[in-house]
Symmetry: C2
Subunit: 340 residues, 2 copies
């Protein structure tokens, strides 16, 4: 029966206008509670369902944002998705998600299939021809690509990496290692540049190992670090996952953090403050980033006048915890043993 019921049937049963039925379903907060209850009762009794496609055809929009991310299984994105969904929902928009590894053909069609009004793009490694071909309003978030024709929101990754080096240098580390992200990734490149600038500015020794932001890349880097002579006493990992993998593997190899080596992460994921030791890291304000991107996109779509999301470069901060300390010295070790 539900396919045959029209809005006028619901309105007549509820004793209200069709406009009220429409408002009660699409913007329930604009209708009084008693009326809303009456309408919903009539909707249930009749089995009415909005023909979303017909309404969208009239309005010529999908009422939906698409979030495109390089790996949906990466837990870094959870808080970003949550913040975007909250802002989108407030603007009456649904949120669609897609992994960007769905293949070139499917990627191309994302911009032409009419399912999304705009895109929050978390991947800077998609072919610019594909991205610029979409002709939809877009915001680049966290990652970026100079060739994409879309505004960017994100932290200053080079400045954040310099902060990590500054912290290690302030603790008197003279030789530091950077475990970077993968070669083609814009975040990896920018953080590596910040690391290089930082060690040059402080006149200390800097080495880089290529990783890929994962736990296992951190563990692998720890095994390579253990073989270095002399071993750098401070390590800056390009992600918290990498840092936690590094520390975990250090423990397996018999090295203590921060007694034998200090480790700084990047992101401040939820586990960072509960790891053993609690991780010193660069904090990316993920919720603020998600909110800013959603607001900027809603603005671009002209769907709501929302407050300006502020400076697109949201400030990173360093959170100092227990994984960093002054470097070990032979003197200090002898002293400890003697005093015990």
């Amino acid at each position: 029966m539900s396919g045959r019921v029209r809005i006028v049937d619901v309105a007549s049963l509820a004793g209200v206008s069709t406009a009220t039925v429409s408002r009660a379903l699409s913007a329930p907060e604009t209708v009084g509670r008693a009326t809303r209850d009456r309408v919903m009762e009539a909707v249930r009794a009749t089995g009415y369902r909005v023909n979303g496609a017909a309404r969208d055809l009239r309005q010529q929009r999908a009422r939906s944002l698409l979030i495109l991310a390089p790996n949906l299984a990466n837990t870094f994105f959870s808080r970003i998705f949550s913040a975007i969904q909250e802002e989108a929902s407030a603007a009456g928009l649904a949120v669609q998600i897609s992994d960007s590894r769905i293949g070139r053909e499917k990627l191309v069609s994302l911009g032409y299939d009419g399912r999304a009004d705009g895109i929050v793009l978390l991947d800077g490694a998609i072919d610019p021809d594909v991205v610029n071909g979409w002709r939809l309003p877009m915001i680049q978030l966290c990652e970026w690509n100079e060739a994409y024709r879309a505004p960017r929101i994100g932290i200053d990754n080079a400045a954040a990496a310099r902060m990590a080096v500054e912290h290690l240098a302030d603790l008197c580390h003279r030789s530091v290692l950077h475990v970077s992200g993968p070669d083609g990734n814009v975040l990896a490149v920018t953080r590596r540049e910040g690391f290089s600038d930082g060690v040059a500015a402080r006149g200390i020794a800097g080495t880089t190992l290529a990783g890929d932001f994962t736990l296992e890349a951190g563990a692998c880097a720890a095994r390579r670090w253990a073989e270095l002579r002399p071993r750098p006493t401070g390590v800056f990992c390009a992600s918290d996952e990498c840092a936690l993998g590094f520390i975990s593997e250090c423990a397996a190899l018999g090295f203590g953090v921060p007694d034998d080596v200090s480790v700084v992460g990047f992101d401040d994921i939820d586990f960072a403050h509960r790891f053993l030791p609690a991780l010193t890291t660069i904090r990316q304000p993920r919720e603020a980033l998600g909110r800013a991107a959603a607001k900027a996109l809603v603005n671009l779509l002209g769907l709501a006048q929302v407050a300006d999301p502020g400076d697109p470069a949201i400030a990173p901060t360093i959170v100092v915890r227990s994984s960093t300390a002054p470097p070990p010295t032979d003197d200090s070790r002898v002293a400890t043993i003697t005093l015990d």
Copy 2:
């Protein structure tokens, strides 16, 4: 210009039929590479975009699944979202996500707004009147509610909790603590029942503290555990986050895991095997769960004949790592000191 271009213009420029243009955009893998390239070039040259709403109106469907989760920021869901999206994409469906805490009115309208063809429901605590009012094909995943009229996919949570107790009992723990999930939650209730059955079956002492699955609930439980006399020597937490918070706070209080207390988690999140100590835990096969739910929903929607996703109760397993060991005894401690 893009609003005025019709599919026939693209077809004529590319020298193909309108049906070929349509296939090249909606199912690119069904069209040969050379033809596809010609069509996409014509699409770009003309600025053509599919009118998704018009097509959906003809087909009377949204071509979209909705995933409804109790908290999008919970990293437990990342792998589930990723697996659902992969299966949905293969079936030509978009994936919409929503937090279920958007308020009753917005929740009600999710089932009537025509944006989704079906729902994967990860929340068992929504009012059954709302859920059953939706009249959309639905699959309950992980959490469930007996009152929802929808098939369920998930692990046997009681059996999994009994496994955790068995493991501790096998290690000779005689007094064990369960840090449960929140009172109203069906997973919390079922795991607590499994814990109680397990301790009764093994004739050991069991105590329960109420938590809420979070890191901080685990830390709080550790402070309360430290005050118990005698202290249970084994702890089973209802989630890995809770277990990691418990272990982290134990360290802050001066207790070692597993030397002073053994800890078992639940889920096997990505960090579990890299925590210090590596966490013994119940593994939920999240990717398999997500895939099974997506396949079952695609079947319900009649969009594709996919292989039966198999038994809806996907088997949990226990993964034994370093956070569990035999309980400390005064004897063993004396022996250790003597032998050193």
